[in-house]
């Protein structure tokens, strides 16, 4: 006679059932996360369907944004979004790299933790504070000093000059780019610092033992080792700069007419939505929802690339 397992007690059965139920609940919530992302995209596209059907490709190609006549060409906000984010990155990336280099190789040890913590805390300050600072403090400085100077000295130059001509208003893409860069510097530099700290000490020590300088260790050892994650961090910052609303809405000037000058008022997708949504008619809201969808797709691509690159580094660590 073969031995049989003792028959399952009522308690075992109840436990098994509870386990199954527990697992189902967990799975459902995990799927909910997926549904959220898809739902966000689809609901905005659905909300904007009437404008998309009406405008077609003109929505992306025309710069005629005139809600009164029901014309929605979103080229100006799309252009403004990209330009402000690029300005922000041009300033923030080198400075953030400098800060991360400073915090991991240059600064004396006792200074590293306090400065690192301070920068991480500052990354948590709400973006509206940056916007208010930009509006009340930076804009007057731009108006009185930087813009007249740029207009007089860079404005007359060929080609580049067109970007830096304009009346001293203070609001515009340059001001927004500067505010955005200050906002993302703590963010990018803390990602870079964290990533630099994952470089194995023996790699750096070997280089130092061969007589490499601090700069050579950072540029030739640390940076190649962490390259993909550094780019990932930069893209995370870019994603933030593209979608930032409040820091920009205060200082962009909110004008939907096209201008090549970085010194004149313009707008970005997020700022336009935040600014006009309250008073918008139904059709106009539909256009704003469609803009939101465009913003979502752009940031989704940027953030997805960022995550893939950050994953690369953690894989490298795991394989070691």
């Amino acid at each position: 006679m073969t031995t049989l397992a003792p028959p399952a007690s009522a308690r075992d059965i109840a436990d098994a059932r509870a386990d199954r139920r527990f697992r189902w609940i967990l799975t459902a919530t995990a799927l909910f996360v997926l549904v959220t992302l898809a739902g966000a995209a689809l609901s905005m596209l659905w909300g904007g369907r009437s404008v998309l059907a009406h405008e077609g490709l003109d929505f992306f190609l025309s710069s005629d944004w005139n809600p009164v006549e029901d014309k929605y060409g979103a080229l100006v906000p799309i252009y403004g979004t990209i330009v402000t984010a690029v300005i922000a990155m041009l300033i923030a990336v080198p400075v953030s790299f400098g800060i991360a280099f400073f915090l991991t190789e240059v600064a004396p040890r006792w200074l590293r933790t306090p400065i690192g913590t301070a920068i991480e805390l500052l990354a948590g300050i709400p973006s509206i504070i940056y916007g208010m600072w930009g509006f009340f403090v930076l804009m007057p400085v731009m108006r009185e000093h930087l813009i007249p100077w740029l207009d007089a000295h860079v404005g007359p130059l060929p080609v580049v000059g067109a970007l830096f001509r304009g009346p001293p208003i203070g609001a515009g893409m340059l001001t927004s780019g500067i505010v955005l860069s200050i906002m993302v510097i703590p963010f990018i530099s803390s990602v870079m610092r964290e990533v630099f700290l994952t470089v194995p000490a023996r790699l750096k020590e070997s280089a130092y033992a061969l007589g490499a300088t601090k700069w050579e260790v950072s540029w030739d050892i640390v940076l190649p080792y962490t390259r993909s994650a550094v780019i990932g961090g930069v893209f995370l910052g870019l994603g933030r700069a593209l979608g930032e609303t409040m820091a920009v809405a205060f200082v962009i000037g909110n004008s939907v007419s096209f201008t090549a000058s970085l010194l004149e008022p313009s707008t970005t997708i997020a700022a336009l939505i935040a600014n006009d949504f309250g008073e918008a008619t139904e059709q106009y809201r539909s256009a704003l929802l469609l803009l939101g969808f465009v913003l979502f797709i752009v940031t989704f691509v940027v953030l997805a690339l960022a995550r893939l690159m950050l994953l690369n580094l953690s894989r490298k660590e795991g394989n070691r």
Partner: protein, 286 residues
Amino acid sequence: MSASTSLYRRRRLVNAVAIVLACAAALFGLAFLAWILWTLLSKGLANLNLALFTQDQPPPLEEGGLRNAIVGSLMMCGMGVLIGTPLGIAAGTWLAEVGNNRRLGTVVRFVNDILLSAPSIVLGLFVYAAFVMQTGGNFSAIGGALALAFIVLPVVVRTTDEMLRLVPVQMREAALSLGVPQWKVTMQVLYRSALPGIVTGILLALARISGETAPLLFTAFGNEFFSLDPTGAMSAVPLVMYKFAGSGYENWERLAWAGALLVTLFVLAISLGARAILLRNKPAHD
């Protein structure tokens, strides 16, 4: 000989220049951030007073406070955390305990990471299109709380996932080998051990939503009057700041700075608290 000396000299020079530039970058970054904090303190501190908490937001050129906005902020942030946290903990548990090595797990983790850094304005529009428009287009505090909950969700998922994966496998094995069902292992063993980390995550999420403005514009909308009705429009401190800051009315601007300082202090206090919890409980795991 001379070639190698000049190479050596050049390397030393490059290094010195790089170090000077790095120090300059650090100073540049810190100077701007200090400038912002200084502005905040110098403009906000003088306007912090008791009336801020006892009076509602005033019409232009009259005295008042931010009571309706503070209450609205607390209510919506509280509701947002209450909605987002259980969902986030459950999804994070699934990631760490069930889906860890599955393909679906990788996908969920990836999507969650994207949600984590998605622009908040997009989540606000999502709730507007999926909730506010479907309920007849009337703005409500519930809508605001939902938008905030979608910001809380990915933060809590991420920290729960990370904290549960830090719990040693031996603890699960020990509990399971005693015949404890899995849900009990999770609830009574794993959560207990991961609790400080999860609480830190919830606090960080709270810090993040307490300064959010953009998603509330399309959902809670703002309200000039004191209101406790979750089905109606409700005010929040950042919404009032947005409205008041550029208004040109001197008393409105003073209130905006007071609100800015209040929100920032709240956020910094919570982040510091979260860090303290994490630091205090760290040795227990190692």
